[in-house]
């Protein structure tokens, strides 16, 4: 089941990505357009400084609203460092996510801004083209990288993928924010890959078309509608990703990170963040202090990226995205955040808002502005660039640096914003400046994004990348591998062999020694990052359509606050606290929001849960089921809500971790950087385990060995769900996504549930359903003990009783493996059933022989087995008398299995009798020999029943002189036939009836 679940999840995600992709293009367009505007808006810089959360949301909004503007953002990020691309993506995704999922207000704002902006953006598209030039420049460097990222993404996610996947990989995707960013990335990737502006332009047109349509559609309906759509997508996405909370969390995380990051950045905007890490930038000092406040700063240098990645991976992408976003944001956000620090973002935005009528729009603009504002500082950073590279190289490795250039190109685009006029020119400057920051954040991001994201790569290459990353045991390796992959792909792309090479057969490079690369990350920072991701995961649920309306009402600041709020909720403990100090001004709003948000989140959580169900396809299943679907759903929702409320509890955290782990695995090793962060985080995680393992192993040889069997080596224990559901009754719904612990019952509850079902007076259908759900919960939690055996035995017996052979066979095969594991149960009894089943129903000599030869000496002494063997002998020899004797005194449920063969046996017997007896045969004898028993106590001893049966089968009956009913053997010889069964099977599905099958096969 676990596998299935994972698989399903993957599939779901793939589907999600599709939706995203569609959205993404639009957003990307918008982003692009926005970017120009942003670039044009130097004045914006000042406003952004106000509220950090706002900055995030605004940022997101900007990206969203201004798909074209996204470029700006991206540009900004790019400017910060090569990472900017990644960051960009992250950003974009973030914004998108936030707007969609959480920042409804933002969204609305976004949308509204969208509409407004569309005009601007389009005009700006040309600017974007200008950007494109930079991008083109980037492309050369970044192209390989992007392809890689796209690969990874694509691999894990499905087609839509190339775009979404690329985004996804960055982690931005998951945030769904992916829209703008994703688009952006895609476009960038394309342009980059192609290296020609024309491509870029093409993309734009496409984008515009798509985006317009999509946007229009979105914008046309009320923002709320749009949101809902988004939400649904998110919900689906979430459900698919398994993490109910994930969406919200992502958003939250992003916001939180932004908040955190923002404070530090305040001073120097982009450059500051960069500088923080690098210290080269002007802002570094401020950054670091801030970072200290938020904890992120310290991490940021190394951790930010890692965090982002980690979040990404762990949280099933979304969380990662947030992280990545955050990290990227840290670059970006830092600038933005820095601004917020000074005031709150919201505040700043508010001021700006006045300028822009639409709140969302304003916010977006503001965000953009903030970005821009932050961006301006970067120009100074050029020095940081140099500094940054070292950082990157240290952490990210060479590959990152190349990516950085690309990012930087993006950044440069953003820088242009600052300069407005000279995009291209600014780009270089930005690149220089941004590189440091981006390197940190971007390095990981870029690595993942640029190298991995690009959707241009051939499928085989994706597979190659996935294979390569699948070997990675921990985050560090992941990141290192990604770096190497980047190099490989870059090289291949420069060779021109990217598409021609046979990636399927391409040998994998030896696993890098990760420790060296990632040691720099600080545990504390890592921890922080982790937490934030985790919270984000929770927040996934939080961001709901409901919130959006509220935010809208609240106006700019509220919206911002709200955004911040959810984020805070998610990150409450750490990030919120940290953030609060930073944003004193915001604090008020934040606090308020915090409280309000919690409520909202809960509500949101509820909704998501429901939606999840839908998304999971459970609803559909439920629909199929007759009774208590709605009730169940309600209860489930309640559980979800509870789970959300418990978000901060260790349990929840664990769950999240396990979820995120799963995600990580599912996606293979795309986001190595993220992984690295997670590793550092903490003891219980797979990541950590892997990390520690890798540390221990450290040697390539071990890794290599692991590489070949990466899949088998997956530590399923860590993926195993721990249920929290306390309900005894639960309907069976086939899982189409990863199980939610809140709906899974722990072992104690399952035990009670089993007893409950056994004692239940209800019919088999109900019991079967209940038992299946128990089985599912057992499977999902990988419980293999005597309880499991008991459940399967119970179900098997029930199935035998009603003749449901297909269900019985499922149980039997499970039981055989369970018994083989040495778990005690009614081994003999079921060996006998198995024998009977083979004898009576499969009619396969080979199976029979192997079943018989498997019987141990002790088994042969068992009553049930002996009986089964005797039945076999009776059947093979056609000894009907013996058969019905055995039928009468069969132990256990052997009778029930024999029941299914009775008809066939009787028919064969009567055929034999008519052939061998002359002249007549008393029906009473036939009834006695063929096991017809009196249904009532009328002393007829089944005579009437037998008569009926004989008549039904075409026998000729006659009454002799003494009045006894006789079977005319000779006359019956030719007239016997097997009637079509008119029976309705007990369990309602006639196709499952063995009798039916046997009857048909007789003819």
């Amino acid at each position: 089941m676990g596998f299935e679940g994972a698989y399903d999840d993957m599939m779901n995600q793939g589907g999600v990505t599709d939706t995203r992709t569609t959205l993404d293009p639009k957003s990307s367009l918008e982003h692009h357009t926005v970017d120009p505007s942003h670039a044009q808006n130097p004045s914006y810089y000042a406003p952004p400084s106000g509220s950090e959360p706002a900055s995030w949301t605004s940022y997101n909004l900007d990206q969203h609203s201004d798909p074209r503007s996204v470029p700006q953002a991206s540009a900004g990020t790019v400017s910060s460092s090569g990472a900017t691309n990644i960051e960009y993506a992250n950003y974009a995704t973030y914004p998108n996510n936030d707007p969609y999922g959480y920042g409804n207000t933002n969204y609305s704002g976004y949308y509204s801004s969208y509409q407004q902006q569309p005009n601007q953006p389009y005009p700006q598209q040309q600017p974007s083209q200008t950007y494109g030039q930079p991008a083109g420049a980037y492309q050369s460097t970044g192209a390989p990288h992007q392809p890689i990222s796209s690969f990874q993404n694509a691999g894990s996610y499905a087609g839509p993928t190339s775009y979404s996947t690329t985004y996804y990989n960055p982690g931005d995707y998951q945030t769904s924010g992916g829209y703008p960013s994703a688009n952006y990335n895609n476009t960038q990737a394309n342009s980059w890959n192609q290296g020609s502006y024309a491509n870029y332009g093409h993309q734009y047109p496409n984008y515009t078309a798509e985006s317009n349509g999509a946007y229009n559609a979105q914008s046309a309906p009320a923002t709320s509608v749009q949101y809902q759509q988004d939400y649904k997508q998110w919900a689906d996405y979430y459900s698919q990703t398994e993490v109910t909370c994930a969406p919200g969390t992502e958003n939250v995380a992003s916001t939180s990170t932004s908040n955190l990051a923002a404070p530090p950045v305040l001073a120097s905007g982009y450059s500051a963040p960069n500088s923080q890490q690098l210290s080269a930038s002007t802002a570094p000092s401020s950054w670091r202090p801030e970072s200290g406040l938020s904890e992120l700063p310290s991490v940021q240098p190394s951790a930010p990226v890692n965090n982002v990645h980690e979040g990404y991976w762990k949280q099933g992408g979304q969380g990662f995205q947030n992280y990545t976003v955050s990290s990227t944001q840290s670059n970006f956000q830092k600038p933005l955040d820095l601004n917020p620090i000074s005031g709150s973002f919201q505040n700043q935005q508010k001021p700006e808002v006045p300028q822009q009528p639409y709140v969302p729009y304003a916010t977006s603009h503001q965000v953009a502005q903030t970005y821009h504002l932050s961006l301006p500082p970067p120009p100074p950073p050029p020095p940081p660039q140099t500094a940054a590279p070292p950082f990157d190289s240290a952490r990210v490795s060479n590959v990152q640096i190349p990516t950085n250039p690309r990012i930087s190109s993006n950044l440069s685009a953003s820088l242009p914003k600052n300069s407005n006029a000279s995009v291209g020119v600014t780009k270089p400057a930005y690149i220089g400046v941004s590189l440091p920051k981006t390197n940190d954040n971007a390095s990981s991001h870029a690595a993942a994004d640029s190298s991995l994201k690009p959707g241009m790569l051939p499928k085989s290459l994706r597979g190659y990348v996935e294979r390569a990353l699948a070997r990675c045991k921990d985050d560090r390796q992941m990141s290192a591998c990604q770096d190497i992959l980047k190099e490989v792909i870059t090289k291949a792309s420069t060779d021109g062999t990217l598409s021609t090479r046979d990636w399927d057969t391409e040998p994998l490079f030896p696993l890098p020694n990760v420790d060296l690369i990632n040691d720099s990350t600080t545990p504390s920072s890592l921890i922080k990052n982790r937490r934030s991701p985790i919270r984000r995961t929770k927040s996934r649920w939080e961001p709901l359509p409901e919130e959006k309306p509220v935010e809208k009402q609240l106006c700019y600041t509220p919206s911002n606050v709200k955004h911040g709020g959810p984020i805070y909720n998610n990150e409450r403990d750490k990030q919120v606290s940290t953030a609060r100090p930073e944003n004193k001004e915001n604090k008020f709003s934040n606090l308020k929001f915090y409280l309000g948000n919690q409520k909202e989140t809960n509500k949101a959580g509820l909704r998501p849960a429901k939606r999840q169900h839908v998304g999971d396809g459970r609803i559909g299943l439920n629909d199929g089921d007759s009774s208590s679907d709605s009730d169940k759903e309600q209860s489930l929702t309640a559980y979800y809500a509870g789970a959300i409320a418990l978000a901060d509890s260790p349990e929840e955290r664990k769950r999240r971790e396990s979820r995120s782990k799963r995600f990580e695995r599912n996606h293979g090793s795309r986001s190595a950087p993220n992984l690295t962060k997670t590793k550092s985080v903490g003891g219980g995680n797979l990541y950590t385990r892997r990390a520690s393992a890798s540390v221990l192993a450290n040697s390539n040889s071990l890794d290599d060995g692991a590489a070949s069997r990466a899949v088998e080596d997956i530590d399923w224990d860590s993926l195993t769900v721990k249920g929290t559901c306390q309900e005894i009754e639960k309907r069976y719904l086939r899982l189409t996504s990863a199980p939610d612990p809140a709906t899974v019952r722990p072992e104690e509850v399952l035990e009670r549930a089993l007893v409950f079902v056994q004692d239940s007076p209800k019919n088999y259908l109900y019991k079967c359903d209940q038992l299946k759900s128990i089985r599912q919960d057992l499977t999902v939690q990988r419980i293999h003990n005597e309880l499991t055996v008991k459940v399967y035995e119970t179900h098997a017996r029930l199935a035998i009783e009603v003749g449901d052979l297909s269900e019985y066979n499922q149980c039997q095969s499970q039981l055989q493996t369970l018994y083989a594991e040495g778990i005690k149960g009614q081994h003999m009894e079921f060996a006998a059933y198995n024998l009977l089943c083979v004898i009576l129903h499969s009619n396969n000599n080979r199976d029979l022989l192997s079943a018989m030869s498997r019987l141990s000496v002790e088994a042969r002494k068992d009553v049930g087995v002996k009986h089964a063997l005797a039945v076999r002998a009776a059947v093979t020899s056609g000894n009907y008398v013996l058969f019905f004797k055995l039928y009468k005194d069969a132990p256990n449920l052997n009778t029930c299995l024999m029941d299914l063969y009775v008809e066939k046996m009787r028919y064969a017997a009567v055929k034999c009798m008519t052939r061998s007896y002359r002249p007549t045969l008393p029906v009473s004898y036939v009834a006695q020999v063929l096991g017809f028993q009196s249904t009532d106590e009328k002393n007829t001893s089944g005579l009437e029943e037998c008569t009926e049966w004989l008549k039904a089968h075409g026998a000729c009956l006659a009454t002799d002189s003494s009045g006894e009913m006789m079977l005319d053997a000779k006359a019956s010889m030719a007239s016997l036939f097997m009637p079509e069964p008119d029976d309705a099977v007990a369990h309602g599905d006639a196709s499952l009836a063995v009798n039916d099958f046997l009857t048909r096969s007789l003819s």
Binding site: T876, L882, C912, S916, Y917
Partner: protein
């Protein structure tokens, strides 16, 4: 090979091997190629080479040195690795490397117009099966899933595809088929044989008589076994008899294997083997059964079945032998009939049920009237006894003509 070997010696051996390998291929000398590809033979030359490889380590460099070697690098390099691993007992790795080498060999083989390398291909096919079995044993002993034989099975299917075409190579198809049978029978995935059998028996490119005798015998043996499983006795009889007839009389082990299935098949169509035959091929487990059939001794039959149950179950003839019970009953009733006839010929054709019950009781077979009546009914139904049963009087009335028809090579009709 504990003997000391110098680096120079190792180098010399490896180059020797490479030279021979290249020469043999250029001369298209299939017979000389065979020993060069064999691992499991563990011939001294192979062992020496493997030791040399393990000592020298960097044989790939040697292969790459000269063009004439490197053109076969795809075959030789993994082959060397397989040899090295084999020598040090790493059979799984050895198998993996050998499969790689074999794949490359097949590629080459495909390009060779004539079938000169067929013998060498046989060696490859054989080696891969043997290596897979050994690798699986290693895997199983390490608690892992044995899967190499399965992989070998799919590899052999690939080889079959290479051979199953028009041209001189097609005569090699049956050898591969037989190796496939061995794999499938070992794996217990007998149903997979069907597709191969179908292509052998229906494809027009194959003329069965054209195949080498040894392959034909092996093929008939395995397909005969399949027919035994299906309880298709006439077909099983035909195939196994063919195998017996064409089998090399010197290879008694093979004859014994064939008889192991042919005897039960013959028994079930009413043909009993001579005692000497069973003794010659040490098939004594059947002798009691034959005796029981001669005597109509149900107890002896059941005892014999019980005694050798494991063996019969494993070889898959248990169910066949069990069905001989009816013939034993027939024999028993016939004996009663003969005795009655001696006493009172006029009433001999009427056998009272009680007589049979009594006879069975002497054999310590406790059965009640109903059960015996049922058996009589079945005997009549299956045409092992001619006549009818009068329920009222509990008497089996036998036909006056040939009341106990012989099977005469026909199976019991069911």
């Amino acid at each position: 090979m504990a003997s000391y070997m110098s680096m120079g010696e190792a180098h010399r051996r490896i180059t020797d091997y490479l030279n021979r390998f290249v020469d043999v291929i250029s001369y298209q000398d299939g017979t000389s190629l065979k020993p060069l590809l064999s691992l499991s033979s563990e011939s001294p030359s192979f062992l020496a080479l493997a030791d040399a490889l393990n000592l020298f380590q960097d044989a790939n460099r040697l292969i790459k040195q000269a063009d004439k070697y490197s053109q076969y690098a795809e075959i030789v390099a993994p082959l060397f690795r397989a040899m090295q691993s084999y020598r040090v007992g790493h059979l799984v790795e050895s198998y993996q490397a050998f499969e790689k080498s074999a794949n490359a060999f097949i590629q080459e083989f495909r390009n060779w117009e004539s079938a000169w390398a067929l013998e060498a291909l046989y060696v490859v096919v054989y080696e891969i099966r043997i290596l897979a079995e050994k690798a699986d044993r290693e895997l199983a002993s390490n608690g892992k899933t044995p899967e190499k034989l399965k992989a070998a099975g799919s590899f052999l299917m690939k080889v079959f595809g290479v051979l199953a075409g028009k041209g001189p190579k097609r005569v090699g198809a049956l050898y591969v088929t037989c190796q496939l049978f061995k794999v499938y029978f070992k794996l217990g995935t007998v149903h997979l044989c069907r597709s191969v059998i179908r292509s052998i028996e229906t494809a027009r490119i194959f003329d069965f008589e054209e195949f080498p005798v040894r392959d034909k015998v092996t093929y008939m043996y395995y397909t005969g076994r399949l027919e035994v499983l299906n309880e298709n006795f006439p077909a099983a009889d035909h195939k196994l008899s063919y195998a017996l007839k064409h089998c090399d009389p010197q290879s008694e082990a093979n004859i014994r294997m064939i008889l192991k299935y042919l005897v039960p098949v013959k028994l079930s169509i009413g043909i009993l083997p001579k005692k000497a035959l069973l003794e010659k091929y040490t098939l004594v487990e059947y002798s009691d059964i034959v005796l029981a059939m001669k005597r109509g001794d149900l107890r002896l039959l059941r005892h014999a079945l019980e005694e050798h149950e494991d063996r019969f179950l494993r070889s898959g003839v248990y169910l066949v032998l069990e069905k001989l019970e009816l013939q034993v009953y027939q024999r028993l009733v016939k004996k009663i009939y003969i005795i009655q006839k001696q006493k009172d010929p006029s009433k001999a054709h009427q056998i009272k049920l009680e007589m049979i019950v009594k006879a069975l009781k002497w054999l310590e077979m406790e059965m009640d009237l109903d059960e015996v009546e049922c058996i009589m009914s079945i005997l009549i139904y299956k045409n092992l006894v001619k006549g009818y049963f009068a329920h009222k009087s509990k008497v089996a009335v036998l036909s006056k003509q040939d009341p106990f028809p012989k099977l005469n090579g026909k199976p019991i009709n069911s």
